[in-house]
């Protein structure tokens, strides 16, 4: 059984502690202690906790957080023993504009790992339904890990009604904003597209303050959903008739290039396929991985070379500066210093 050491953070439904294994104190784990609320939830357990356990147990993949064990403590608390992910999340990296620099190769590496995680969930018929940068944790080796399966569920059953009140608003696809109760893996693909855009822009792409504003932003940046570009859309439960004079046709490639040009034309092509308004025209997670962007230049950065929170980039910068025969200071006393004239111009 693991021992809890210190608090790592607190979320809506849980408090997370850093712990270690009794048998091996060097093995660190994160212990997620689910909050109990007998008043609101049946059996005192939240649906989130149940989902998290249920789906994480099924999924074992390098880009999905590992669930080592589940146990209950004295007061019937549910505790999840999770893989400890010490390097924060993707949101921290995106926001640290001054401290962390990255380019297309890094974006491709991160998106590639997210793409694999989402594809693997869908391959196992599980929707994540809360993909966003702060649910994408970074492991010690730089690997991206999809976490927080509190909103996950299985999918593909015909006629089974699903909630449209899922996915954090900025990452929520138009079909959910319009009240669709039957949907597919493509909801997660939209979220992936907005994360992709955010990685490039280094700020949230569509940041609506209300659901209505979110829909307006989608109309403005992607296009207004109408029967012509999205057959059947007007039959969705919460469809709004958009003002005829105010309809934005679907944005073309030049528009995306002007905003996301740094991803290159091939990258922009993938981004657009993930942000298609009509979910049936959107790429599936499999199609995302089949896209030619991944194998075109530049090659994705190796995970060990990706910029990391705290010390990561500075360290890397030092290594790059120290070229030629120069050696780290500690060895300097015993070795003659070599001046690097070849670098002079």
């Amino acid at each position: 059984m693991p021992i809890a050491d210190k608090k790592l953070g607190e979320g809506t439904y849980a408090v997370v502690y850093l712990g270690h294994l009794k048998a091996d104190p060097k093995r660190l784990v994160a212990i997620k202690k689910m909050k109990v609320n007998t008043a609101e939830w049946r059996d005192g357990l939240t649906m989130d906790a149940i989902r998290e356990v249920k789906y994480l147990q099924e999924l074992s993949h390098p880009n999905i957080i590992a669930l080592h064990a589940v146990f209950s403590s004295k007061n019937q608390n549910l505790n999840l023993v999770l893989e400890y992910l010490p390097l924060g999340d993707l949101e921290m990296l995106i926001k640290d504009v001054d401290g962390i620099r990255y380019g297309t190769a890094e974006v491709k590496a991160w998106m590639g790992m997210l793409g694999r995680a989402v594809w693997f969930c869908h391959e196992n018929f599980i929707l994540h339904r809360d993909i966003k940068p702060n649910n994408l944790f970074i492991a010690a080796d730089g690997e991206v890990k999809l976490a927080d399966f509190g909103l996950a569920r299985s999918f593909a059953d015909p006629y089974r009604i699903m909630s449209h009140q899922v996915i954090t608003r900025w990452y929520r696809p138009p079909e959910l904003l319009l009240g669709a109760r039957h949907y597919a893996g493509t909801v997660d693909v939209w979220s992936m597209g907005t994360v992709f855009a955010e990685l490039i822009l280094r700020r949230p792409f569509l940041a609506g303050q209300t659901d209505v504003e979110q829909l307006e932003l989608i109309c403005q940046w992607i296009g207004t959903p109408v029967e012509e570009n999205w057959p059947g859309v007007s039959k969705l439960a919460d469809y709004i008739r958009f003002d005829k004079g105010n309809i934005q046709p679907i944005r073309g490639k030049e528009f995306f290039l002007s905003t996301f040009g740094t991803a290159g034309p091939v990258g922009v092509d993938l981004l657009m396929s993930m942000l298609a308004l009509d979910p049936r025209k959107r790429s599936t997670s499999r199609q995302v991985l089949e896209h030619k962007w991944w194998t075109s230049e530049p090659r994705p950065t190796a995970k060990e070379h990706l910029p990391k929170k705290g010390g990561g980039p500075e360290k890397m910068g030092e290594d790059l500066k120290r070229k030629g025969g120069e050696i780290p200071a500690s060895r300097g006393d015993s070795v003659a210093r070599r001046l690097d004239f070849s670098a002079m111009r």
Binding site: F125, P158, Y183, E254, G261, D278, P279, W294
Partner: protein, 377 residues
């Protein structure tokens, strides 16, 4: 060097521009404020740019400074970096030595071997600077350079690659910053795409150069093709001479005398595997081939009802899941089955094509089950 009068020229001044009279044509900066001085690392004699143009444009010629008769090439003239020509020369020599001596500490088996190597390098530099043992030192340099040829070009490629990547990176960041400032026009978009493409090509070029050393050879061949027959003949002669020289005992021992001592054996890292977006996972079904349509009346509404399909619901995912469930158990007996199969028949249709019936039986069963439990989460 005497300090000259106040400069009246507007152009940027560099070290060595202090003197205002060209020793060759005697023109003065007073009359020609734009005048620039150049030196050639062959002899470091200084002269003005127009003299260089005049004397060396037709090809290599002798240095016009009295008492020097070295043959100079226009291409090698350049502006001085340092005020003191002695330093200029020393830096040149050091740079040249550093290219031949390009091993790093990590290349050596012991620290002692590395220190000995560094000492060798300093001695070579000193000799060239002071004009001591120049011939032997030059031979040593050539021998080292030959030994290191592969790593020298690899290191150069790496340096260029890093530089190009950095340029591309900075440019991309600037570009994004500019885009973020919004208001980018359509015209900008087009030219930006072009620039992107150019960057990409530059990076590609470097990447390819690294991957296939063959490319350099191709370029060489092309330029050879352009040469005249006479030149080719001369080349051939030279080659023969070189070959004779190589066979000459005095020369062939160079490589043994001037061998870098204490180097670790070189281990080449295996070439990087191509990036696999699926991360090495199998992503096609093994036991069945999925069809795009399975007939069943229970499923018809899920195919057509806009309230269902407009949200992206896709029955094909249900087919897929059903098939996966139906065939999931098969993996457990795979070893036995393969053994049987290999004995029984040769290779052939190990992929079973699922029949509609099998899928539909599973679908109906699952459907009945699901309809009973209805959750709305």
């Amino acid at each position: 060097m005497s300090r000259s009068m106040q400069s009246n020229g507007a152009g940027p001044r560099r070290p060595g521009d202090r003197e205002d009279i060209c020793p060759v044509c005697k023109s003065t900066r007073y009359l020609n404020p734009e005048m620039r001085f150049l030196v050639n690392p062959e002899c470091y004699h200084k002269m003005c740019e127009s003299c260089v143009d005049r004397i060396f444009s037709q090809g290599p010629a002798a240095c016009p400074i009295a008492g020097c008769a070295r043959t100079l090439r226009k291409q090698r003239f350049r502006q001085q970096t340092f005020e003191d020509l002695k330093i200029e020369r020393e830096v040149d020599i050091r740079r040249r030595v550093a290219t031949a001596f390009n091993c790093q500490e990590s290349d050596f088996e012991t620290l002692l071997a590395y220190n000995n190597y560094l000492e060798d390098m300093e001695v070579a530099t000193f000799n060239l600077l002071q004009g001591v043992d120049v011939d032997a030192t030059e031979r040593k340099l050539a021998a080292f350079a030959a030994q290191n040829a592969a790593s020298i070009s690899a290191n150069n490629a790496k340096a260029t690659e890093t530089r190009t990547a950095q340029h591309a990176h900075t440019a991309a960041q600037k570009e994004q910053a500019r885009l973020n400032r919004a208001g980018a026009t359509r015209a900008d978009v087009a030219s930006m795409a072009e620039r992107e493409e150019a960057h990409r090509e530059a990076i590609d070029a470097v990447a390819n150069a690294k991957d296939e050393p063959g490319q350099k050879v191709v370029l060489l061949k092309k330029s050879t093709a352009r040469r005249t027959a006479a030149e080719k003949a001369r080349d051939k002669q030279r080659q023969q001479q070189q070959q004779q020289q190589l066979q000459h005992p005095g020369d062939s021992t160079d490589h043994e005398i001037y061998k870098i001592q204490g180097l670790k054996p070189v281990i080449h890292p295996p070439p990087e595997k191509a990036y696999d977006p699926f991360g090495g996972m199998a992503h096609t079904p093994v036991y069945y081939t999925l069809q795009s349509h399975y007939e069943h009346p229970w499923l018809d509404r899920a195919r057509t009802d806009p309230g269902i399909v407009a949200g992206g619901y896709d029955l094909r995912e249900y087919y897929h899941r059903t098939m996966l469930a139906a065939f999931a158990g098969l993996g457990c007996f795979i070893d036995e089955e393969m053994g049987e199969k290999e004995k029984g028949r040769g290779e052939g249709d190990d992929k079973m094509v699922a029949t509609e019936g099998a899928a539909m039986a599973a679908a109906a069963a699952a459907g009945a089950d699901r309809a009973a439990r209805r959750d709305v989460l």
